[in-house]
Symmetry: C2
Subunit: 201 residues, 2 copies
Amino acid sequence: MQAPLHFYFDFSSPYGYFAAMHIEALAGKYQRKVEWHPVLLGAIFKITECQPLIQIPLKGKYSAHDLVRTARFHHIPFAMPAIFPLATHLAARAVLWLINTQGQDSAGKFVKAVYQAYFVDGVNIGDALQLAQIATNCGFDAAALTQATATPEIKEQLKLQVDSAIEHGVFGSPFMIVDEEPFWGFDRFDQLEAHLKNGKI
Amino acid sequence: MQAPLHFYFDFSSPYGYFAAMHIEALAGKYQRKVEWHPVLLGAIFKITECQPLIQIPLKGKYSAHDLVRTARFHHIPFAMPAIFPLATHLAARAVLWLINTQGQDSAGKFVKAVYQAYFVDGVNIGDALQLAQIATNCGFDAAALTQATATPEIKEQLKLQVDSAIEHGVFGSPFMIVDEEPFWGFDRFDQLEAHLKNGKI
């Protein structure tokens, strides 16, 4: 097996959602496993001095339009949630706990379920009870997951995870790194695939 | 002939350069003419409170890498200029003068020549003498062009042009509007082509 594909994302990122729904198929086509890296864009934006896309004058209005169009173009179900953006640290910690206890594939299953709950069904994924329900639906131990997301250990793990992402140059979502080659954005999947296919671009 | 494709760009935008080299072929394939709209990102960034890409922490380093890779991926000659970014108001005014006096096709010829001079040959396109040389190489009256770019009328025209672009929601380069549908970025050429082909996405 070749080196894994590192997938960095924030649950409040619609383009992260689009990418998350396709990344395993793309990676698997070239014998790569996905490693999931939940991050917090709020912490990263303090470094880059950027604002959430949707809040930027002119760009925000375009982005709202582009998101709907991009979803349609790629045939991905999508409905802009009423609460947007929202706090994603609980969901991110839940992903880390799943990685710790059950591995990357289980984490991936949960990532996709949380993203779909938020960007298709409009569920408030910032809420611990809603996250527990999603975990139950996925067949995970919701009580253990909820408990884990409140521990100092997992909080510290997420902080280190975000620091590590920044050290690796991650500044947005989705952000993919494979063989130390960085790709930012769902619209770099063409170049990412060229790299996976040919080992270079 | 159907409605034209409006192409907004700043000469200091490398992705604008990539797009400018391909936009006429794409538009022409679907019986559209290109209308060139030089803008000044500096003025636009005052509205969006954004910085030039290359100056943003983390994002700047990635962008420098992505530009070279994107050029290679699309087989476009590219060398990052030593002076970057630079003032593009003279070149923008020259384009407006060409549109006024000789039409969109001549303007397009000049746009591509200026972009290539900057992003392939490293010419300082902020310099009036260098712009005159490019105009001469294109077969245009360089003396008339140089004189025109210093008049109050053309300065005012560029200011109105930038204001109009902002009113149309333009916040970056390249930015394309066709049939009132906006597309930002060279990486939206796939969706732009889908629109041109099918009238919708």
